[in-house]
């Protein structure tokens, strides 16, 4: 009998294949797209267009500690040190086209969706201009009211339909609506299993060491619309479920003493360092804002639902929603504390953080700390500061346990 692969093995293989397939497609003269991380990839999957994700790629470059050389190149071209470091890495990769961490083909088409930030409009505009390729852009207006309005849904849906026509023009192929239905179904299901798996971390102890979320995130970004992606997340879910049923925690050699969430993106160049500091104090990062970001679920063939789902991620929602979101996470995951990453790259996540922190603390009483960092620029993070903040958090969590007998 063939030995069944673990989800971790599968994850590695799928990611390798994802990059290899894209390079092969390019070599075969097939179109390749570059896309933002939460864009309606369903359209590209339906058209059979290979797509790679600059944010994923920049994160991989960061995690393999290669970011600095790319950042230097971009800054040399006149890019400010103050703009998103994913953009600085990617805009340099566009020129250099070579990195040990992973290689991606240059795009024939740009696919951009501003539900994650308006920064990507500017970043992708520059790629499209420099490489002289068409840019399909989905404008998902910021939701300053609590819910996504019908007005916004109408606009987004109309843009999806316009994008389909544009894709037909660019590729000279007809859009296959049956296949579209199938991709929609798979994409929603994959999202569901991603979320289901991450919810297993609600158990005490959590079978999931949350830093794994950071690893699996790459695949939920790039394989959400594929059967392989769906299988991966089902498998991951089953493994975690089994672990949980057997009462196994996140680590073999240590116990989960505190449960926290991480707000924002990881510090890729210091992934191992930050992980070790937390583990040293028995802190398991059981969840983050990632699980909900790729929970894009809607009914098959429901374009209104699809439009609404894409506009529903928390960064595109208002502060009340963002607060409620974290308050619920605190309750569901029975958290002891929160770590907020004040990410030098990401103004949209940062400039609401202070108020959200105050409100969440008021609503839940759970202590928290903010540390300064950056997702890929290694210069904007200090391990010493990080550890000092974590020590402060441990003291607060400990005091609270004593005072309230919360354990």
């Amino acid at each position: 009998m063939e030995h069944q692969k673990t989800s971790k093995q599968l994850l590695g293989e799928l990611l390798d294949k994802h990059y290899a397939d894209a390079l092969q497609a390019k070599a075969d003269g097939k179109p390749v797209a570059w896309s933002t991380s939460i864009a309606p990839q369903e359209l590209l999957e339906t058209m059979g267009i290979h797509v790679v994700y600059p944010e994923n790629h920049a994160a991989a470059i960061g995690a393999r500690k290669h970011a600095q050389e790319f950042i230097n190149h971009s800054e040399g071209k006149g890019y400010s040190v103050d703009i998103c470091s994913y953009a600085r890495v990617n805009l340099a990769y566009m020129d250099i086209q070579q990195c040990e961490a992973a290689n991606i083909p240059l795009p024939d088409l740009i696919f951009c969706c501003n539900n994650i930030c308006n920064t990507v409009i500017k970043w992708y505009e520059n790629i499209a201009r420099e490489l002289n390729v068409p840019m399909i852009f989905f404008d998902l207006p910021f939701n300053h009211a609590y819910e996504v309005s019908d007005q916004n849904v109408r606009y987004i849906k109309a843009q999806i339909l316009e994008a389909i026509i544009r894709l037909e023009e660019i590729t000279g192929q007809k859009f296959d609506y049956d296949r579209f239905g199938e991709v929609m179904r798979i994409s929603s299901e994959t999202s569901l299993w991603w979320k289901n798996a991450s919810l297993l971390a609600c158990a005490k102890p959590s079978p999931l060491n949350g830093f794994e979320l950071f690893n699996y995130m790459a695949t939920i970004v790039c394989m959400r619309g594929t059967k392989e992606g769906l299988e991966l997340f089902k498998l991951w879910h089953d493994e975690l479920k089994e672990k949980s049923e057997r009462g196994i925690g996140p680590w073999k050699d240590a116990e989960e003493k505190y449960r926290v969430m991480w707000d924002g993106i990881a510090c890729w160049p210091y992934l191992g360092d930050t992980y070790k500091v937390l583990k040293k104090y028995g802190i398991n990062m059981v969840t983050s804002t990632y699980p909900d970001s790729w929970y894009i679920v809607y009914d098959e063939n429901d374009l209104d639902g699809m439009a609404r789902a894409y506009s529903s991620n928390y960064v595109n929602r208002n502060l009340d929603f963002g607060t409620d979101n974290i308050v619920n996470i605190v309750k569901d995951f029975r958290l002891d504390g929160i770590i907020y990453h004040s990410n030098r790259s990401c103004k949209l996540m940062d400039f609401r953080q202070f108020e959200v922190q105050r409100r969440v603390e008021e609503a839940t009483g759970v202590p928290s700390v903010i540390f300064d960092g950056d997702q890929t620029d290694p210069r904007a993070f200090s391990l010493a500061q990080f550890e000092t903040r974590i020590q402060a958090l441990v003291e607060m969590m400990e005091a609270r346990k004593k005072e309230w007998g919360v354990s």
Binding site: K77, Y79, K122, N126, M135, F137, H144, Y155, Q159, E355
Partner: protein, 378 residues
């Protein structure tokens, strides 16, 4: 003759120099309520049609730290200043504030202000970025209609179609006059030094547009009666960027024999350089203007035409060079610059990049850089 021109210049400069005093004066004179309008574009025509005064909110000279409660240090100085002033209660005389969402910082400012300053009646508006497509135009209309309702509630009266038409006409007229004004400046480098030009343009944010239009038209008329001044010795400069403040920046240019023949500043010419055709309803005309407004960092521009636009401007105005005033932490502008730089270099246009904040302790470094640029141009 000369005195008429000088008096008008002094009057407009004063209006531009003291925002709050000017607004209060205008409110008193017109008996109108005032509504704050954030950068970059807001539907000012709707505010005006509702019988209220749209007034600009582009930062200010503040130095406090109240805004640290909401914003990290790497936020742009304009939003820090606005937030500081809001928290100090400096804006409490406004009946509402229209806050836009062109950049990520602004999205957060909308949210923080709703909480921090509920008395300001924050009216968020999100312009479409896909502004040229049918879906974008449909959405823009929905959004304008939503804002119209909000403004009617604040004004306590309904906006009649005729009032809106008159307001859109008035704004078109304003834009026409301003294009003429900025073109006139090149002939009067002494009377209309860089700072004077800036303050006159800025005054529009704090005055009733009808009165402002009359004053600037009159000024152009008076200027035209005067012979053009000798400008041979001076360097003809185009300014690009968000804003040409801090105070003092433009004086440094004047000190170095430079004068501004045209600009691409969000705070100045981008407000009036585009005018839509007079076809369709007033709302259609407002929508069309945004659709046509290219070369702006805050509106999606697939062709990324700003560098080429600046090159063409350099030809049209026979400019000696372009100064790019980068407002620190304003990322949409920061993303535009490398492409502009490439375009300008390809066309052999001399340019200088300077990084500014609206409030700066020392301008000495800027002075040195501008001076050397002047020498390069000589």
């Amino acid at each position: 003759m000369m005195n008429d021109a000088i008096n008008l210049i002094r009057e407009l400069e004063d209006m531009g120099r003291n925002p709050k005093i000017s607004i209060l004066k205008t409110m008193k004179e017109t008996g109108k309520k005032a509504v704050g309008c954030f950068p970059i574009y807001t539907p000012e025509e709707l505010v005006y049609a509702a019988g209220m005064l749209p007034v600009g909110m582009w930062g200010g000279q503040t130095s406090g730290t109240l805004s640290d409660r909401y914003l990290q240090g790497f936020c742009c100085s304009i939003m820090k200043a606005n937030t500081e002033q809001a928290l100090l209660g400096q804006y409490d005389f406004l009946s509402a504030v229209i806050v836009t969402a062109y950049c990520d910082t602004l999205k957060c400012v909308i949210e923080n202000w709703k909480i921090a300053s509920p008395q300001l009646n924050v009216v968020p508006i999100v312009y479409p970025q896909n502004r040229k497509t049918p879906s974008g135009k449909m959405y823009m209309k929905d959004e304008f209609l939503r804002i119209k309702k909000e403004l009617e509630r604040i004004a306590g009266n309904v906006i009649a179609e005729q009032d809106l038409l008159e307001s859109v006409d008035l704004y078109d007229e304003y834009r026409c006059i301003m294009q003429e004004f900025t073109d006139t400046v090149q002939d009067y480098p002494d009377l209309l030094k860089a700072k004077t030009r800036h303050l006159i343009i800025k005054a529009a944010y704090f005055m009733d547009k009808k009165i402002y239009n009359e004053k600037v038209s009159k000024l152009i008329l008076e200027l035209r009666k005067l012979p053009p001044e000798n400008s041979r010795k001076r360097k003809r400069i185009i300014l690009s960027g968000f804003i040409s403040e801090p105070d003092g920046l433009l004086d440094i240019m004047t000190d170095n024999d430079m004068y501004v023949v045209a600009d691409d500043l969000a705070h100045e010419s981008r407000q009036f350089r585009t005018i839509a055709a007079k076809t369709g309803s007033p709302l259609d005309r407002m929508i069309e203007r945004i659709a046509l407004q290219d070369g702006c960092a805050f509106l999606f521009d697939e062709k990324k035409s700003r560098g080429r636009m600046l090159t063409a401007m350099k030809e049209k105005y026979r400019a000696d060079g372009i100064i790019f005033c980068q407002l620190k932490f304003c990322d949409p502008e920061e993303f535009d610059y490398p492409i502009i730089k490439k375009d300008l270099e390809a066309a052999g246009v001399a340019s200088l990049y300077i990084e500014i904040e609206q409030q700066m302790d020392s301008l000495e470094q800027l002075r040195t850089r501008i001076q050397s640029f002047g020498e390069v141009l000589a």
